[in-house]
């Protein structure tokens, strides 16, 4: 009641003043316009791809890449979808990314439980090890992994990709989650002790539920990172049926059968899944990117 009253009194006195001050400053709109122009430059490539993906080759040849399509032409997208069996690629990417995200989070939890809460001996060295493991260029691992996977008949199989990325992503997850678990409220752990819960039960019924927001961030990261991975899937997934979306699109580059509109169609359907994840996960993502910074 008091709050509304005081605001009601304050607003009329405040508003005209600020409004006048704002009007006096043309710089404001100059800066906004400059930012909008810059944003347009950044987004322009995406817009150009989008308008040309739904343009017929004839119209493209006639009026160029910048005109808006007079009618929507879906054949480029449909042709491309059928030609690369895009549904299959989407499924491969989804299964791989999802499995890696689940297993990677589980592995991170176990590691971080031992390092952050258990304070295992030599934990600083373990942390350094996981940090370095995450920084290593994949080139230094690729040939032995390629060789070993052939030995155990997992070459050209999604399973090998899942195993490798689970470990690589969990290395980052361990690093991040350990710093979160170090700050874990000891009262909760002590309470679980008093209740007679073992370590295993404490982990699943106390630690995991409490840290669910961080785990959500990790899951999102792992999913998107694995979805976008290019190098190792390129080396490992050689047959058409096993390719993920980025590999399928990457190897088609420069294919002589691709004309301008079909190429932009392929670009558009490559962007769409990423865009959808971005919109779905946006909140968790922004939170997560900063979580990494705080250490």
């Amino acid at each position: 009641m008091t709050v509304t009253a005081s605001r009601a009194v304050k607003t009329p006195a405040d508003a005209p003043e600020t409004r006048a001050a704002r009007r006096k400053n043309p710089l404001r709109f100059f800066i906004l316009a400059a930012l909008l122009a810059l944003l347009l430059i950044v987004i322009a490539p995406l817009l150009i791809i989008a308008i040309n993906a739904v343009k017929s080759p004839a119209e493209y040849a006639g009026s160029g890449p910048l005109s808006l399509p007079t009618s929507l032409y879906w054949d480029g997208i449909v042709d491309f979808w059928n030609r690369v069996d895009f549904g299959q690629k989407l499924w491969n990417s989804f299964v791989t990314s999802f499995t890696v995200a689940v297993l990677g989070v589980l592995l991170s939890i176990l590691n971080a439980y031992a390092l952050g809460i258990g304070r295992v001996k030599g934990r600083l060295w373990f942390l350094v090890f996981f940090l370095v493991a995450n920084l290593l260029p994949q080139e230094v691992l690729v040939y032995p992994l390629y060789f070993l996977s052939k030995e155990v008949h997992l070459y050209d199989s999604l399973i090998s990709i899942v195993i490798i990325f689970t470990v690589i992503q969990a290395a980052f997850g361990t690093y991040l989650l350990t710093s979160v678990y170090q700050e874990f409220p000891t009262e909760l752990l002590d309470a679980a002790d008093v209740d007679g819960a073992g370590k295993w039960r404490t982990l699943w019924s106390v630690v995991v539920p409490v840290s669910r927001p961080t785990l959500g961030v990790l899951f999102t990261f792992f999913f998107i990172w694995t979805w976008n991975e290019f190098f190792l899937p390129l080396v490992f997934l050689v047959s058409n049926d096993n390719q993920t979306v980025p590999v399928a699109l990457g190897v088609l580059q420069g294919d002589r059968l691709m004309d301008a509109t079909m190429t932009s169609a392929s670009g558009l359907i490559g962007i769409l899944p990423a865009l959808i994840f971005f919109l779905v996960f946006q909140r968790t993502l922004t939170r997560g990117i900063t979580a990494g910074a705080i250490k």
């Binding site: 930012l35 810059l38 080139e139 040939y143 080396v235 990423a274």
Partner: protein
């Protein structure tokens, strides 16, 4: 309080890491001292791969290309992102609304979420010499003379890749810095305003000073990303034309899978790895020092 008996929880993680990371790493380092085509006999040749490497002009040019890519992927986006983040947070957020600020942030971040293969398609298409949008635009506004085969000419290919990488990277520092700025006490800005500080003075003395931790994190992660760059090169130029955009990781890839010179490829990756690990430690120290300085 020290708790005991948590070691078992580390077992799956350590076993998996040994299998996927330690063993391959050791194998690659060992292989770098041998001559091997991937199938036949592996012969120990000592440091021969490394002496060959340091005399190989391609190796040196791949590293000088990386220096330019660090400029495009780490230095320019960090500086530009710092400035834009400050403008968005401190100017747009306050003089307009936070809605506008986060709208711009999402927009600038967009290129970051696009899979690298798609970035390749996108730009390969826009810069295509025959039907690319950029040349057509230049033609239309009467600058047709500037049109060139952007990714296909040795003189322009690397610069084109650099421009594309700035586009890709810009959103990351903006998001990081804007998050960091939220820690800054608004009273500091108000005090500066009262003292009659200009916007630029506030930017250099307060903003830049206070988000040094984020600054180091961004610089180290983007620099390492530049050293590791593979995907964009593979899809945009394939290291060409005539090796103008060759980078170490692609150079290693070619030796592994195209030339079957596995020992030589291993030596290249080993050098790259040493470089990245050393750089990471140097940066971590710098960052620690900066943070301790702040506490004091």
């Amino acid at each position: 309080m020290r708790r005991k008996g948590y070691g078992v929880f580390l077992i799956p993680g350590v076993l998996a890491s040994v299998l996927v990371i330690v063993v391959p790493l050791v194998m690659t380092v060992w292989t770098s001292f041998t001559k091997w085509n991937g199938v036949g006999e592996q012969r120990w040749i000592g440091f021969d791969n490394y002496t060959r490497l340091f005399e190989d002009t391609l190796f040196w040019s791949s590293f000088s290309n990386i220096l330019l890519l660090i400029l495009a992927m780490a230095v320019v986006p960090t500086l530009l992102g710092l400035f834009l983040a400050a403008v968005l947070f401190d100017y747009v957020g306050k003089k307009f609304s936070n809605r506008w600020a986060s709208f711009f942030r999402s927009g600038f971040y967009l290129p970051q979420i696009i899979p690298v293969a798609v970035t390749g398609i996108l730009w390969g298409w826009i810069l295509h010499p025959d039907y690319g949008a950029l040349n057509m635009i230049l033609d239309k506004i009467g600058l047709g003379g500037l049109a060139t085969n952007w990714l296909g000419e040795p003189g322009s290919a690397l610069y084109s890749v650099m421009g594309i990488m700035i586009w890709v990277q810009l959103g990351y520092p903006i998001v990081m810095f804007m998050a960091g700025l939220q820690r800054v006490d608004p009273e500091l800005y108000e005090a500066a305003d009262l003292d009659g500080a200009t916007w630029w003075q506030r930017f250099t003395r307060i903003t830049v000073y206070l988000i040094r931790p984020e600054f180091y994190v961004v610089l180290v992660t983007t620099t390492i990303a530049a050293l590791k760059i593979f995907g964009p090169i593979f899809v945009l130029t394939g290291g060409g034309p005539s090796n103008a955009t060759l980078v170490p990781s692609y150079f290693a890839y070619k030796n592994f899978f195209e030339k079957a010179q596995v020992g030589y490829g291993s030596a290249i990756s080993t050098v790259l790895t040493v470089l990245i690990v050393v750089l990471a430690f140097v940066f971590l120290r710098l960052q620690n020092r900066a943070e301790n300085g702040r506490v004091r």
